[in-house]
């Protein structure tokens, strides 16, 4: 208690110097907190992006395939996925896109992403029907010239009227609009709502290619992705022997996992750099505590001459160092919260706050730094021979 009051007195006495001493700790703690908050913001952003794309997918790619000598792989996978794998599979769709101008009467959208999909396209790509109807199995079979509009296309071409039943032209071919999707990505020109889906069986007309070389299989939960992937691998190995083609399989979640893991390892590196700031702050505290010991050598001598135990002297300086760095930590926490809020809003449009655990950790660490770096000056002070300490002025 006594040591606490004396330490506060002494810090208070030299506010300017105390603040400068804390600066390293303040910067370190602020940096750590902002960093962690920004990484969590970045991860939230990445995750949201992948979730919009649709998570839990297995992507099949046919590198080459001799159609003349074997069955249609897409058809086979569609049937196998929907019938054999059952509930685990929510949809199978070719994943082919092209960019084409879209014309409605006199209005033209210069480039629009055209998805060539199956009747399960929406499930595979995380679109939800808003109005009308979706592509049907019959449309695919009949190669009907029908399409479903993303919200940007619908809103832009039909600001005042109902698009359903109207006709748009893709590559000069008329398509009847049968439905519209809900907005899923903000609805802007550069969003995933700037799209149109058409039956993939029109690929000959739109892509000048009859082959489906990429297939998306949508799985119900992330736990099942690997199960489905392995089952497909076994199935495809039989179907596509090496003499007729080559395929590869990919867990669609791995890209997301990879990028979050990447940021995790990057934040470790950045966190390391921030801890160096804390360490430098600790050295600053050691330095100032050494100065304080020198300044107060006479006081130490007086205390020793009247019987102060070594532990008392050590405690006094450790408490002061701990308070100094702890105060630096608190200021750093306040700044870290403020900066995280401001940057989080600006960069990710999120309310980002450092987690309680990280905050508590940063505070504990800064106090510990102060105490650890205070040990040397404190022990040095306590080891002074009373008469030597008294001689100082």
């Amino acid at each position: 208690m006594n040591a606490l009051i004396m330490a506060l007195d002494s810090i208070q006495e030299k506010k300017g110097r105390s603040f400068l001493t804390m600066l390293g700790i303040i910067i370190g703690v602020t940096a750590v907190l902002v960093l962690v908050a920004m990484v969590s913001g970045y991860n939230a952003d990445i995750t949201a992006y992948y979730e919009k794309l649709g998570v839990n997918k297995v992507n099949i790619t046919l590198t080459w395939y001799d159609r003349t000598r074997a069955v249609d792989v897409y058809d086979a996978v569609y049937t196998y996925g929907n019938e054999t794998l059952g509930d685990m599979v929510e949809g199978v769709s070719p994943s082919a896109t092209t960019d084409l101008p879209v014309k409605y009467r006199t209005t033209t959208l210069d480039t629009c992403t055209i998805y060539l999909g199956s009747d399960q396209f929406a499930a595979c790509n995380n679109y939800t029907l808003e109005d009308g109807r979706d592509l049907s199995y019959y449309d695919i079979q009949q190669r009907s010239k029908v399409c479903v509009l993303g919200s940007y296309v619908a809103d832009t071409l039909f600001p005042y009227t109902d698009p359903i039943g109207e006709t748009v032209y893709l590559s000069g071919i008329p398509f009847t609009i049968i439905g519209t999707y809900y907005q899923k990505d903000g609805g802007a020109e550069d969003s995933m709502d700037h799209m149109i889906s058409v039956p993939y069986s029109l690929n000959r007309e739109l892509l000048q290619s009859a082959d489906v070389t990429a297939i998306t299989v949508k799985v119900d939960t992330s736990d099942h992705v690997d199960t489905v992937l392995n089952a497909l691998d076994v199935y495809l190995a039989e179907l596509v022997s090496s003499s007729v083609g080559e395929y590869s399989l990919e867990n669609g979640n791995s890209a997301m996992t990879e990028s979050t893991e990447e940021t995790a390892s990057m934040s470790v590196v950045l966190g390391g750099i921030a801890s160096i700031a804390l360490l430098v702050g600790g050295i600053g505290i050691m330095n100032i505590m050494l100065v304080t010991v020198t300044e107060r050598t006479r006081e130490i001598g007086i205390k020793k001459s009247i019987g102060a135990p070594r532990s008392e002297i050590i405690t006094q300086f450790l408490v002061e160092a701990g308070i100094l760095s702890g105060m630096g930590g608190l200021i750093g926490i306040a700044l870290g919260f403020g900066l995280s809020l401001v940057l989080g809003k600006a960069m990710y449009d999120l309310i980002l706050l450092p987690s309680a655990l990280v905050t508590a950790g940063a505070f504990t660490f800064s106090v510990a730094i102060g105490i650890i770096f205070g040990i040397y000056p404190a022990v040095k002070a306590s080891n002074l021979q009373p008469v030597d300490a008294l001689r100082a002025d």
Binding site: E299, G301, I302, I306, P309, R310, L390
Partner: protein, 238 residues
């Protein structure tokens, strides 16, 4: 057994033959409980050096110091702290009060190291301040006091500590003769109450009031006389 016994004590400062200073050059001395000893000698003769060793603020380079019959060099750091805390009180020429603490807190501080509870510390500090007639300044800071007042606070601190031995290194050196006399009479009072007092002074009129006078010159004790003025040969003096 004597309370204090120095046996052929040396204190050597400096390295090398040329720079070496024998501040104490083979000193032997015995002091009994309850004595009032004045230590006199020219400036630089080694009085403070001897006193610091007696008070366990410093250690001899060679020789033995027995306190209560136990050699100091056998004592642990903690035991020395306890001696400074409970056995010996100091009064310095420069007062040595802590400027950031109030007067009464200065007086009470040694009792904190004796683990005496706060209420009792404060009570005893106030009583000691009353004894040296400076109670009205209890809540002042030392720097707001005159030299004589500060020295009385230092004496109050020694009184409150309750140590059986009081050592004073030129306590009146910075005071005018009237305040010096007051300070001296306080110490005589303590001695009358049983406290052993060892007092360094270069003021012969003050030394004359002591029962025993020890004279130091160039690190040697050259005279050791009792109060009736009869010279006795110093122990080990050539």
């Amino acid at each position: 057994m004597s309370l204090i016994q120095l046996q052929n004590v040396y204190k050597i400062y400096g390295e090398g033959r040329e720079n070496q200073v024998n501040a104490l050059d083979g000193v032997s001395l015995e002091i009994d409980r309850g004595e009032f000893v004045a230590v006199i000698g020219a400036s630089g003769s080694g009085k403070s050096t001897m006193m610091n060793i007696l008070g366990c603020l410093d250690v001899p380079t060679y020789g033995e110091y027995y306190l209560d019959g136990v050699p100091i060099r056998e004592k642990s750091r903690r035991e020395l702290e306890l001696i400074r805390s409970r056995q010996i009180s100091f009064i310095f020429q420069g007062y040595n009060l802590i400027p950031s603490l109030k007067v009464w807190e200065n007086v009470a501080l040694p009792m904190l190291y004796q683990k005496i509870p706060l209420a009792q510390r404060k009570e005893r500090a106030m009583a000691a301040l009353e004894q040296v007639e400076i109670l009205s300044k209890a809540d002042s800071r030392p720097t707001q006091l005159s030299g004589g007042q500060q020295q009385r606070v230092a004496i109050a601190r020694a009184i409150a500590t309750g140590s059986p031995v009081l050592m004073a290194d030129e306590p009146t050196g910075a005071l005018d003769s009237k305040t010096g006399t007051q300070v001296l009479s306080l110490m005589k009072e303590l001695n009358a109450g049983g406290t052993t007092v060892i007092l360094i002074t270069h003021d012969n009129s003050i030394a004359a009031q002591a029962r025993r006078t020890v004279q130091v010159r160039d690190g040697h004790i050259v005279h050791d006389s009792v109060w009736d003025g009869v010279l006795v040969p110093a122990v080990g003096a050539g």
